[in-house]
């Protein structure tokens, strides 16, 4: 079968390519520089303080805040920004501290008054978003970055969270966190292969030798595409085995139930659609505009615009889904359908992009004949 032979050839090609191995190492480096098994042990066993003495120890933070906690944290932020910093932080690709002008100062002061006299949480949300607009957006006050607010956990909460984690399965909880970091790399790194997958025929001046063969475009494009997908997913799965083994021993030592597929299932379900989309997108943009570099640049923009918030947004505009927490099982349950729909959507979209890419490849061949 021709398709299978092209598929195998592409796998052999990539395995000999320096770019592939550099990417594999980069994924490995990035993920293990971010992912830690912090708070995996019983709170008293690893916190710096003495068990039960919550004030002297750190048990981590929580982003799951009650409405009142959120309001009070915002009030504290406002106070600090207005009277201590006389400025605020703008989040985004580059995090910047900005000084406030008189109009903004006035808006902040008014908001403190409004918070003190607010009647409902909904009213509070409207007012903080108004301030975010006055400050130019992307501040801690807007809906986009307000979920970054956190407070320290108490010892009791930490114990409760720990017990919840054991009950759900440590491999599942940390599997999600691990998949979150993998997903970030999957949204960007594969484009360095995808964007140059078809262009390399032109780069190495093999295009005439290939096109004269009369191979069907969809056969050629899809075989190469899926070969790269298989290799990269293979890399992700192999990387996922590392924490799986680690958690096997941890589970054994602590008497926790061990789920051997915890890391692997999240890697496949959460990361595979992202890998599929990133390669398909890079390949298609490169073929459309005739430049792999433009496809890479576009993907960098897509990735950064998709990287926040850290959890909770699983709309169809998110090709990277984030769940950067070991808490929030309730959010996961609540978002289950949205996550499933999101992943299926990107699976389908990737397929459509590959068909589009094959069509463009064929059109370009026809254009070359003009």
């Amino acid at each position: 079968m021709i398709w299978m032979n092209i598929f195998k050839s592409e796998i052999k090609y990539q395995l000999k390519s320096i770019v592939f191995w550099v990417l594999a190492i980069a994924v490995l480096g990035f993920v293990f520089s971010q992912f830690t098994e912090e708070y995996v042990k019983f709170p008293g066993d690893q916190a710096s303080g003495i068990e039960g003495q919550a004030n002297s120890a750190s048990y981590g933070v929580t982003h799951n805040l009650s409405s009142e906690e959120e309001i009070q944290l915002i009030r504290r932020h406002l106070w600090k920004d207005l009277f201590q910093k006389e400025g605020f932080t703008r989040y985004g690709l580059i995090i910047k501290d900005i000084r406030v002008d008189e109009v903004q100062k006035k808006a902040m002061a008014q908001l403190i008054d409004k918070i003190d006299n607010h009647s409902s949480y909904q009213e509070f949300v409207v007012e903080v978003n108004k301030l975010d607009t006055v400050l130019g957006g992307n501040t801690i006050y807007g809906d986009k970055f307000r979920p970054m607010l956190s407070r320290k956990l108490t010892y009791e909460e930490a114990v409760e969270n720990f017990e919840n984690r054991v009950e759900e399965g440590m491999t599942n909880v940390y599997g999600r966190l691990f998949a979150d970091y993998l997903g970030l790399t999957a949204g960007l790194f594969p484009v360095f292969i995808g964007a140059f997958l078809l262009g390399r025929d032109r780069r190495w001046r093999m295009d005439d030798l290939i096109k004269i063969r009369g191979i069907r475009s969809l056969v050629y494009v899809s075989a190469k595409y899926l070969a790269v997908v298989l290799l990269l997913v293979g890399v992700y799965l192999i990387i996922s085995l590392i924490p799986t083994v680690k958690f096997y021993f941890l589970s054994k030592a602590n008497g926790w139930p061990f789920h051997p597929l915890g890391f692997l299932k999240y890697t496949v379900a959460w990361v595979l659609p992202t890998v599929l989309f990133t390669i398909a997108c890079g390949m298609t943009i490169a073929e459309l505009v005739g430049s792999g570099l433009i496809a890479v640049a576009a993907q960098i923009v897509f990735t950064f615009s998709n990287s926040l918030p850290l959890k909770g947004n699983y709309s169809l505009s998110r090709f990277i889904i984030r769940f950067n927490t070991i808490e929030g099982h309730d959010i996961l349950v609540k978002s289950h359908d949205a996550i499933l729909l999101n992943r299926l959507f990107y699976l389908l979209l990737s397929g459509l992009l590959v068909v589009l890419c094959a069509w463009v490849w064929e059109k370009k061949e026809a254009q070359g004949r003009r």
């Binding site: 021709i2 050839s9 052999k12 190495w204 093999m206 030798l209 004269i212 191979i215 004949r369």
Partner: protein, 289 residues
């Protein structure tokens, strides 16, 4: 296999690359001779179905240009500018392109590739990465890949350009061997390529056809027009401006000119037997029709 080309024209925007070309190619080794920019590559790419003509027709056997897939199945093509994935070995390149040609049977591929690599003297280099191949070896590999689907017609574009003399001879012999049973169209700007191995040729200049026929007949055009003249060295500039000079070499205090002229260019000038190169240069210089 017969190739009939009728009134073939190709324009790139406003620029005319081929102008109403009509040719009949009836098997064997056929030369397409002309300087760079004459339209040879354009003509080959149109025959190879890699480019559409602006107007005109080509019939390859019973196939017209619209039957692209069928034509590509019987064609082998060695482009002028090509290369290979640098990390592939010689064997891997052949296997990859054989796969793309639709050859599904691995045993068949192995046998065919072995045979072709032996034929082009690259079998010993089958595991060599293509990035370290010499220019001549790359050309031979290019030749081998063009034959992977047992083509009835082989198109080769400037195959000997940049090769040393030994490689040029080796390449011409490969083409001659292949052309015993098939049709080969050899595009070149090197007269020696066609001189020794082609029976028929076409000469192109600025997109137009200025000669089509047998090489023997082409050489006859030069009879009575190519002279050897021994002249003073200080006359060199005058002679070069008055005649189409093919070459000149010093002989003692004098200079021996080989030149084209319809009449005796000077006292003592002697007629010499014309070569295809003389006639080609005469035609290109506009002094021979």
């Amino acid at each position: 296999m017969e190739i009939r080309i009728r009134n073939l024209t190709k324009k790139y925007g406003g620029k005319l690359a081929l102008d109403e070309i009509s040719l009949d190619i009836n098997g064997g080794l056929y030369g397409l001779l002309g300087p760079k920019g004459a339209g040879k590559t354009t003509l080959l790419r149109i025959i190879a179905t890699l480019m559409n003509p602006t107007s005109g027709d080509i019939c390859i056997g019973h196939l017209d240009l619209g039957q692209r897939k069928a034509i590509r199945d019987i064609l082998g093509y060695l482009p002028q500018n090509f290369s290979f994935y640098p990390q592939y070995s010689v064997y891997e390149v052949m296997d990859y392109l054989a796969v793309l040609s639709g050859q599904k049977d691995p045993v068949w591929r192995q046998e065919k590739i072995t045979q072709l690599l032996q034929q082009v003297n690259l079998w010993e280099n089958r595991d060599t990465k293509t990035r370290v191949l010499s220019k001549g070896m790359k050309r031979r590999l290019g030749f081998a890949q063009a034959l992977i689907n047992d083509p009835l017609i082989l198109l080769v574009d400037e195959p000997t350009a940049g090769l040393d003399l030994e490689e040029q001879v080796r390449f011409r012999n490969l083409l001659s061997d292949f052309a015993l049973e098939r049709t080969v169209i050899l595009s070149t700007h090197i007269v020696a390529d066609v001189e020794f191995i082609c029976e028929n040729l076409a000469i192109l200049k600025e997109g137009g056809l200025i000669y089509e026929g047998r090489i023997r007949d082409l050489v006859r055009k030069g009879e009575g027009k190519v002279w050897s003249l021994l002249a003073e060295r200080e006359d060199t500039l005058d002679i070069r401006s008055d005649y189409q000079v093919i070459s000149y070499v010093p002989e003692g205090d004098m200079m021996n000119f080989r030149l084209i002229s319809n009449h005796q260019p000077g006292p003592g000038a002697e007629l010499v037997k014309p070569t295809i190169e003389d006639v080609y240069l005469g035609i290109m210089g506009g002094v021979m029709g």
